[in-house]
Symmetry: C2
């Protein structure tokens, strides 16, 4: 006689995300997760291969949510205000703001995506691509198709590095952190727009 399921993979991943943000990576024990979903630790291994696997699933869910946040900005922000052909410079700046807002709302999950330890199973290939599809399009508009990939990498590197350092408490020389972030996104948008290219668009 089969026992009725007392939990689910989605429950487990969501419980993991909550615990991660509340108690940090070291607080995310299999016991803690099991406790929250109302089961004993060994039962988790029916749905999850290992703790490392669970961390990968958490990173994946967080990356998906980040992607949705960025898509929403692109929809409700620049496009909506100025019609079908938004200013890519402005869009970059707004995407960067949304990226940072998301990171501040899910700092531990963010860390898991952009600075995973070696014991995190890497998330699915397609997900990051999807999360950055909007960024790639803006980068192409800004820097030309030939430089789109390099430009997108420059932007994500800057944004993720800035927020990672900020969250790690690395900016200890004073100054206004918000201002530094706005400074960076504006300078980068200008720089990429001015990119020399053999076949510039427009």
């Amino acid at each position: 006689m089969p026992t009725p399921d007392r939990t689910s993979l989605d429950d487990i991943v969501q419980a993991g995300r909550d615990i991660l943000e509340t108690d940090g990576l070291s607080g995310l024990t299999m016991q803690a997760v099991a406790n929250r979903v109302g089961v004993r630790a060994p039962s988790l291994y029916k749905r999850v291969r290992s703790r490392s696997d669970l961390l990968g699933l958490i990173a994946e869910a967080t990356a998906r949510e980040l992607g949705e946040s960025l898509e929403a900005v692109a929809r409700d922000g620049a496009v909506h205000r100025s019609g079908a052909h938004p200013d890519p410079r402005r869009e970059i700046i707004e995407l960067a703001r949304a990226f940072r807002v998301f990171a501040h709302a899910h700092p531990a999950g963010f860390h898991l995506i952009f600075a995973p330890g070696p014991d995190v199973t890497n998330p699915d290939l397609g997900l990051l691509a999807q999360a950055s599809s909007r960024l790639m399009r803006v980068a192409a508009e800004l820097a030309g198709t030939d430089n789109a990939l390099d430009a997108a990498r420059t932007l994500t590197a800057w944004a993720s590095g800035f927020v990672s350092m900020e969250l790690a408490g690395a900016f200890r020389l004073g100054g206004d952190i918000d201002r530094a972030y706005e400074f960076g996104s504006a300078r980068l948008a200008d720089a990429l727009a001015a990119t020399p290219s053999p076949r510039r668009r427009r």
Copy 2:
């Protein structure tokens, strides 16, 4: 009758650094460190408050070494070739290269500095400032003293974010990673040099 010392704090930190690069953060156990310095694990607690404290000391030593690498570049590179007034654009690019070379040589230590988990005691305040003193000077030359701090933060955010993502295997859309890095440093150098400022130098 006192026992002669069988190890030292420097030995312990160096052993920790070696193990960290070889076996990763999860391989860096107190037992492994004790084994390497020829002592039992409990003895480590005579010189180190905790594993977290040891991780902080390792990060500190690595940050110091990174600072020295960057200073050496500034001495032997642009300055040497073009006399007393080197081109700050070129210096930025060379500093960025040296930063990445260091990260590739000490990937785990680099990760410990720029994306530390919550269980790492943060390194001493003065050290990061010293490690980035050269960068601050170049940033001031490039973007003007008013924007020096913002410019330096933009640069370190980009460089550390780029290398972190690279080391985490995040660049999976193909393309030439070296080229993307050179693209970024060149664009950033241009962008910061073009910074509008109320009181531009030169």
